[in-house]
């Protein structure tokens, strides 16, 4: 069961990464990136690295995403 | 602690180099003081070189090495009779050219740069002659070449800059080639000392051949042998005349000196003969002699003609040293010496003519002999010596060279020597004839006063011309004797 979950989560990571970098709308890209970061944190949690998982959730899904959103707000949304 | 006389070569080399610094500061206060200081420095340098004589005579070799400077090779100084002889003629001609410069350069300007670089190149030149290993030789070679660049572009005209650029690039190529050779020599032999019997290469292989070609290119470019002469006919005419005299008279000879050291000290005549590389040198010598003389005939600018003549004469020098026998080598060394006298005389005379008339084309000098008899007289002496008419010194060197060619079983080169003498006649004699007979009969009157040249200019010319005469005429000929003993030393003949 965990094996299947693992596979699903990893698949999600790869697919979301692909969508994030291929999306022509930057806002979509950033939102998908947030989801990516959260799933990444989940994977790390499952790999028994809880502190790092928390750090990734805060830094990746929090700080980095906020920075990206702010930057998009100050520049432009579409490519 | 070594005896003091071992430091004489160091002193002679470093004195003019170090003296450039105070000269830079003196010239800020007074131009007159600067001219005198430059003379005094050149004079002291000559005296320092001269003072080596008793020690060379009694000990054969003096010198000292400093391994701390520029490791791993270190800088070393060494003087034997060959080094001494060339250093002596170099510093003597330099002193005379410096005297001449005071008057000649007055209208050229930028003397504050001219004098220091003149002395710097003197130091580099003496360094080349007085060092004890290939690497130090290379260091001073580069110093001299770069200092000479500033002398060549002195006029700063577009023509001079173009010639200077050509010179600079070729000099750098030569320097790099030399360095390549030295690195190989060091890799093969573990040292780069120049000394009797210390042959750095002992076998014929790819590496030693590469080094041979590198040395040939390195020294050949400086010496102006075919096909590396391309910078020479441009650079010599544009330089101020005293600088051309030194370039042609002395600095070309550093290349010849280097080749002598390469053939006789780095490889040894036996190895060169065994490998057959002397053939390369002989072929180049033949082409250089013929080409230099032939192209000189076609020149109409007097300094260009002299420059091509220098190429031809360097061919003689190369010929003598590649004959690999005592007479050929003696001829070479003596020709280095006598050509220094002759070519300096000629360039200084040409300079005097240009100074006086402002013209450079040979046909424009028609009748000038009546206005400047001293100059043209000296020019005649030197030109006759060049052609090789007895009893001038040029005759002796050609004679000895011819004997060397016969000794080596190559009579063809005697023919070439005679042919080129003929060609020398073809391009020198018209200048003289034109100078006296180039104008109508009624204009052939002696100008009064004879010459407007100041003593500062004609004294050096006359002294040099006298040198051409004395060293050909006198039965006791020190330079010839020195050349012979140097040749014996280099060939490893023990007397």
């Amino acid at each position: 069961m965990t094996g299947l979950l693992n596979i699903l989560l990893l698949l999600f990571l790869v697919v979301s990464a692909l969508i994030a970098v291929c999306s022509r709308d930057l806002l979509t890209a950033v939102i998908i990136f947030i989801a990516y970061s959260l799933v990444m944190a989940l994977v790390w949690q499952m790999l028994r690295a809880p502190e790092l998982a928390v750090a990734e959730a805060v830094v990746g899904a929090g700080a980095t995403a906020l920075l990206l959103l702010a930057a998009i707000g100050k520049t432009r949304r579409h490519e | 602690m070594k005896e003091f006389y071992n430091y004489l070569p160091v002193l002679a080399t470093c004195f003019p180099i170090l003296a450039t610094l105070p000269l830079f500061f003196i010239q800020r206060s007074s131009a007159k003081l600067r001219d005198i200081a430059a003379l005094v420095i050149a004079g002291i340098t000559l005296a320092l070189v001269g003072s080596m004589y008793p020690f060379i005579k009694s000990l054969g070799t003096i010198g000292v090495s400093f391994s701390g400077i520029l490791p791993p090779f270190g800088i070393s100084f060494r003087a034997d009779v060959l080094s001494f002889m060339l250093a002596l003629i170099a510093s003597a001609v330099w002193l005379l050219a410096t005297i001449y410069s005071k008057e000649y350069m007055a209208h050229e300007g930028r003397l504050n740069r001219y004098y220091p670089f003149l002395l710097l190149s003197l130091g580099g030149c003496l360094g080349v002659f007085l060092t004890g290993d290939l690497f130090s030789l290379f260091v001073f070679f580069e110093l001299m070449s770069l200092a000479a660049y500033v002398l060549i572009v002195h006029e700063e005209s577009p023509l001079a800059m173009a010639a200077g650029y050509k010179y600079l690039i070729l000099t750098l190529i030569g320097g790099l080639a030399l360095f390549f050779g030295i690195v190989i020599a060091f890799e093969v032999a573990g040292n780069v000392q120049i000394g009797p019997g210390n042959y750095l290469f002992t076998e014929v292989n790819r590496l030693s051949f590469m080094a041979f070609i590198s040395f040939l290119v390195g020294f050949g470019i400086k010496m102006g042998i075919f096909p590396m002469h391309v910078w020479l006919p441009d650079a010599h005419p544009v330089a101020p005349s005293p600088a051309s005299a030194l370039l042609s008279g002395i600095m070309l000879k550093t290349g010849a000196y280097g080749l002598i050291r390469m053939v006789y000290n780095v490889y040894g005549p036996d190895l060169i003969a065994q490998a057959g590389w002397d053939k390369i040198l002989l072929v180049l010598a033949g082409i250089t002699i013929f080409l230099g003389s032939a192209v000189a005939i076609a020149q109409t600018d007097i300094k260009r003609r002299l420059a091509y003549s220098s190429i031809g004469q360097m061919g003689y020098v190369l010929l003598g040293l590649s004959l690999l026998n005592v007479n050929g080598l003696t001829g070479t060394i003596f020709h280095i010496f006598s050509h220094a006298l002759m070519k300096s005389t000629l360039f200084l005379c040409a300079g005097a003519m240009i100074y006086k008339t402002g013209k450079r084309q040979i046909r424009e000098f028609a009748g000038i002999g009546f206005q400047m008899p001293i100059t043209i007289g000296c020019f005649t002496v030197a030109a006759l010596a060049m052609i090789g008419i007895p009893p001038f010194n040029g005759f002796i060197s050609k004679l000895v060279l011819s004997i060397g060619a016969l000794d080596a079983g190559k009579p063809g080169f005697v023919f070439l020597l005679v042919l080129s003498s003929l060609m020398n006649g073809i391009y020198y004699l018209p200048i003289i004839i034109n100078a006296f007979l180039g104008v109508e009969k009624e204009k052939r009157v002696w100008a009064k006063p004879f010459t407007e040249l100041k003593a500062g200019m004609w004294v050096p010319i006359v002294l040099l011309a006298l040198g051409c005469l004395i060293f050909g005429l006198f039965p006791i000929n020190y330079p010839l004797a020195w050349a012979e003993s140097a040749a014996n030393l280099l060939m490893g003949v023990v007397k």
Binding site: G3, N6, I7, L10, L13, V14, A17, L18, A20, V21, L26, A29, V30, F33, Y36, S37, M40, V43, W44, L47, R48, A49, E51, L52, A55, E56, V59, G60, A63, T64, L67, L68, A70, A71, I72, K74, T75, R76, E79 | -
Partner: protein, 112 residues
């Protein structure tokens, strides 16, 4: 075969993420995309490390504090580089009015 793949699935995913991020950083001309690529690349490597340290690499995973310290350092570096890069991008936008590297290059070419 499938077991082996399953055991190495994390490595595989990590490598894929690294390549996606790397490729984006290298080729995407949109500067903000490059920054996203940067983060994907870095998290990919971190995933690689974490899967090593905790599932027991071939050499056997001791309790070594350095790898997780390395991760913390890496996270900090990634976020500071992101912040710094985005700040520069915003300023660059003020100069050129675009966040596309190719457009910036062509505008620069026109200016010269």
């Amino acid at each position: 075969m499938f077991d082996k793949l399953l055991a190495n699935l994390h490595f595989l995913a990590a490598m894929l993420l690294f390549i996606i991020g790397f490729y984006t950083m290298l080729t995407d001309s949109n500067l903000i995309k490059k920054v996203i690529g940067l983060n994907i690349m870095d998290t990919g490597i971190f995933l690689f490390f974490i899967s090593l340290g905790y599932s027991g690499g071939p050499a056997g995973g001791e309790a070594n504090p350095l790898p997780s310290a390395l991760m913390y350092g890496g996270l900090a570096a990634a976020v500071s580089l992101t912040a710094f890069g985005l700040a520069m991008i915003v300023r660059l936008y003020k100069y050129y009015g675009t966040i596309d590297a190719d457009e910036i290059m062509s505008k620069r070419g026109e200016a010269e």
